[in-house]
């Protein structure tokens, strides 16, 4: 019965035409569902985006590495924002058992110009191990030679974004660039490293050998932004992490530094995801609930207004089940349309709102399926009662209800 009914063209035609017959009611139901779905899609996007954030950080961190970032000390007291980690920490950390190599991140924003273009960007100092520890790869030219770390050559390696700004599509290798008050020669370009979760590009920088950096960019080098450690392949990762914490706590308070490991990134993002899911999930659940409620009521009105139509269909041989299927199909059509419209609206929200939340913009294509399922479920459940009411109308009363 069901199959033979649903298999008929006229059934579908009738469903679509019935919805078009009452545009206001259909539209109202559609809006409700769409809104619920839009918020659902947005949540999925936000969660996927923040997951991608985690992935990016973990990928940036690289395998078998620990990143120790400077905190700003006690946040409750207003102080000058100075990095809390210093060069002694660096040497202490380097000596931790299981650490293969280490490098610190020391950088300053400077005015960088070439060929009439200028902008402020980070100048980053590089010790001998820096490029290896921070997983830099070469795109163009060469890295620094060993001897260049012990003299004061005016050379640098540039990021692709900065290079594009200064030189456009031209190959910058061999070109001169003004960094602060010093003219340096570009010897290489490093392969793109992408963006930080904050949206800041890691390719908008220039790397300078440490001695050159101290002489021409910034003599102060005791305060460090961060230290990165690479572990021996057979080191016990968790043990090294706990040793790193111990070493740091000897000289610092808890708030002075942050140890970043894949584990801590995941933990932080889990908490973030949880709160996000909870709040937005609740919101979209409420939205779906309300839209279901709206839909249910609209269909009760439908059943009342179209009672005589139900009557004549019953007279012409429709079983109760057939009447239920008819209203269910109408609800389903609205739900599917609502899922599509809601998803589009959700995608728009993703486009405009996720950048404000500093989340990568991810279009959750997978959530389309989710949206359709949720929407269909909402539609079908909310129309269950009205369609049953329709099926159980007294046929004669229903027929006589025509004005």
């Amino acid at each position: 019965m069901a199959a033979s009914l649903l298999g008929k063209n006229l059934f579908l035609t009738s469903v679509i035409k019935a919805l078009r017959q009452n545009p206001a009611r259909s539209l109202f139901a559609l809006c409700g569902i769409s809104l619920g779905i839009a918020s659902l899609v947005f949540i999925v996007a936000a969660i996927e985006g923040s997951n991608q954030n985690a992935h990016n950080i973990i990928k940036l961190l690289g395998p078998n590495s620990i990143f120790v970032r400077s905190g700003f000390g006690d946040k409750t007291r207003v102080r000058r924002l100075t990095y809390r980690i210093d060069i002694r920490d660096f040497y202490n950390l380097k000596r931790v058992y299981g650490v293969k190599s280490a490098a610190f991140l020391l950088l300053k924003q400077r005015r960088i110009s070439a060929g009439g273009q200028a902008r402020n960007a980070y100048a980053v100092s590089a010790t001998r191990d820096f490029l290896e520890v921070f997983d830099y790869e070469l795109k163009e030219g060469r890295f620094f030679r060993s001897a260049e770390y012990s003299s004061f050559p005016k050379i640098c390696i540039m990021g692709t974004e900065l290079s594009r700004f200064l030189f456009g599509k031209r190959n910058p290798v061999g070109q001169r660039v003004q960094i602060a008050r010093t003219t340096m020669t570009i010897v290489g370009v490093f392969a793109p490293k992408g963006k930080l979760p904050s949206g800041k590009s890691l390719d908008d920088r220039v790397i300078i050998p440490i001695k050159t950096y101290r002489k021409f960019i910034e003599p102060e080098y005791k305060r460090l932004f961060a230290v990165k450690l690479k572990l021996e392949p057979d080191a016990d990762y968790d043990h090294v992490v706990s040793m790193v914490r111990k070493v740091m706590l000897k000289r610092h308070k808890k708030d002075d530094f942050v140890v970043v490991t894949p584990e801590t990134v995941r933990k932080f993002l889990n908490i973030f995801n949880w709160t996000l899911s909870l709040y937005l999930g609740l919101a979209s659940l409420i939205a779906l609930f309300i839209s279901g409620f709206v839909m249910s009521n609209i269909f009760y009105i439908n059943v009342k207004v179209r009672a005589w139509e139900i009557g004549i269909r019953r007279a012409l041989g429709a079983t109760r089940q057939a009447i239920i299927y008819q209203f269910m199909a109408e609800a389903l059509a609205i739900s599917v349309a609502g899922a599509v419209i809601g998803s589009l609206a959700g995608f728009f929200a993703v486009r405009w709102v996720t950048p404000l939340l500093k989340i990568p913009t991810v279009y959750p294509v997978k959530s389309l399926v989710l949206a359709v399922c949720f929407s269909a479920a909402t539609g079908l459940i909310s129309v269950l009662m009205p369609s049953r009411a329709a099926a159980h109308l007294n046929t004669v009363h229903a027929l006589k209800s025509r004005l």
């Binding site: 008929k8 004549i312 012409l316 041989g317 109760r320 027929l399 025509r402």
Partner: protein, 222 residues
């Protein structure tokens, strides 16, 4: 055996504490191929009787045998099937679904049917026969009363039922359209369909071979 057999049918409506007996002890037989008119004043119970014969309503007491089968023992699905396959309905106010065109309206019974009929072909032939083949894509709102009723007649016939029930089919039509409609019903009858016509109009009832008079819910002898 009679196609339709009613024995001591009563129909009582309850309105609060009030009991309204609309049909009293109705016994009646209709043979296959009959053309029967049910006549009576307004409120006499004609429509109520037709609804019972049409399996749209059940009697409060009494027995109704349709093709020898006891209708009061059937469940709702079975009754729907009987309405779909054995009964055709024509009403005073047409009941064409406003958002479907003529062709689609005519095909509604086929939605619920498992009969193996070439419905579209049959619909086209029947519409041709009632002179409506040029308006297959028209909406009901674009038709005159007489045209609407002719579409409704085609709809009642699409599933090739044995019995056609018509409740005041000419009630909203002018005399010319009425004549057209009644001539179509006569023609159907001459081809073997059993027709049960409810009317209070003697002019219309004249097309029938036999007339049953109802007064205050009872069959009266003319």
């Amino acid at each position: 055996m009679a196609l339709i057999q009613l024995r001591n049918i009563n129909r009582i409506f309850h309105q609060g504490d009030l009991e309204i007996q609309v049909l009293r002890d109705i016994s009646l037989e209709i043979q296959e191929g009959d053309f029967v008119a049910i006549m009576g004043a307004s409120g006499s119970g004609k429509s109520t009787l037709m609804y019972i014969i049409g399996c749209l309503d059940s009697p409060s007491s009494g027995t109704y045998l349709l093709k020898g089968m006891n209708v009061s023992e059937m469940d709702d699905d079975r009754l729907s099937l009987i309405r779909n396959e054995s009964l055709g309905f024509i009403f005073q106010s047409f009941y064409l679904i406003p958002y479907l065109n003529v062709m689609e309206n005519v095909l509604i019974p086929s939605l619920y049917s498992s009969k193996n009929i070439e419905f579209k072909k049959r619909a086209r032939e029947l519409l041709e026969e009632v002179d409506m083949s040029e308006r297959m894509k028209f909406l009901p709102s674009e038709l005159s009363g007489g045209q609407k009723q002719r579409v409704a007649i085609v709809r009642s016939l699409i599933n090739d039922p044995e019995i056609v029930l018509a409740d005041e089919p000419t009630g909203q039509l002018d005399s010319k359209s009425s004549r057209q409609v009644m001539e179509i019903l006569s023609r159907l009858n001459s081809r073997g369909k059993t027709i049960i016509l409810v009317t209070h109009d003697p002019e219309t009832a004249r097309y029938a071979e036999r007339t049953i008079f109802i007064k205050d819910g009872c069959i009266t002898p003319g």
